[in-house]
Symmetry: C2
Subunit: 128 residues, 2 copies
C-alpha cells in the first residue's frame, strides 16, 4: 500500500473541523479555528493548503469561493498514527500498549464494558 498520509498536530485540528462537518468554506474554517485554536486567518489557510498538497483535503471552486472536504477519514488517519506508535513504542503489541495504559490510569466501568464488547466482537469476526 502507498504510505497513507500522516498529520501533524496542527493539521489534526484542521481535519477535526472538517470531519465534524463538510464541505466547509475557508471562511467558516478560519472562524472556527480562530476561536478554537486562536489562530489567525492565514494560519488556518496555510494549513489547509498544505493539507491539500498532501492530499488530505480536497477543494472545489464555487465561483470565487473555495470549499474544502476531507479526503481521508478520521479512522484512516487515526489508524495510521496508531500503527506507527504501536510499532515504535510497543514492538507492535497491542496488549502491551493496553497494559501499559491500565497500569497508569484506571478505566471506568463503561470503558471496560466497551472493551469487553469489542474483544468479543473481534473474537467472533476472527474465527468466522
Amino acid at each position: 500500500m502507498e504510505k497513507s498520509i500522516s498529520l501533524t498536530d496542527a493539521e489534526w485540528s484542521v481535519m477535526e473541523c472538517l470531519w465534524s462537518r463538510a464541505p466547509r468554506t475557508g471562511r467558516e474554517l478560519t472562524e472556527e479555528l480562530g476561536k478554537k485554536c486562536g489562530w489567525s486567518r492565514s494560519t488556518t489557510l496555510t494549513l489547509l493548503s498544505r493539507l491539500e498538497t498532501k492530499g488530505a483535503v480536497g477543494t472545489e471552486n464555487d465561483g470565487r469561493v473555495k470549499t474544502f472536504v476531507p479526503r481521508v477519514s478520521r479512522e484512516e488517519a487515526a489508524l495510521r498514527e496508531t500503527e506507527d506508535l504501536l510499532t515504535r513504542a510497543y514492538r507492535g503489541s497491542l496488549s502491551l500498549m493496553v497494559s501499559t495504559l491500565t497500569k497508569k490510569q484506571t478505566l471506568s466501568r463503561e470503558e471496560l464494558d466497551e472493551l469487553y464488547a469489542i474483544l468479543k466482537k473481534a473474537e467472533e469476526d476472527g474465527h468466522a
Copy 2:
C-alpha cells in the same frame, strides 16, 4: 506533573539501544546505531547530546570516556506518546482506539487472551 519528555523518531532509536542494555559508551552506541540505522558517528552523538539536554539520558564520565544511561523508562516514554495520541486521535477513548484497530487487523488468539487478562486485572484493581 511536569510534562514528561517526548521523543522524536530518531531519538526513539537511540533510547531503544540504551534500554536494551545500559550503561553504554558512546563507542558502542555509535557502532550499534551505525549498523542498525545507517547513521554516522556524529548523528548518534548529536542525538545523545540532545537527549541529555532533554533529560532523557544521563551521563557519567569515567576518565575520558562518557557512559550513557536512560533516565526515562520505556514505559514512561511509551505512555507519554500513547496519551498524546489517544487525546489527539480518539478524544481520549481507549475503546475507540481498540475498536479502530480491530476493525483493520485481526487479533491473534494470544493477543486476545492477553487482552482479556489485562482487562480482568484492570477490573480487579479498579474496584479494590
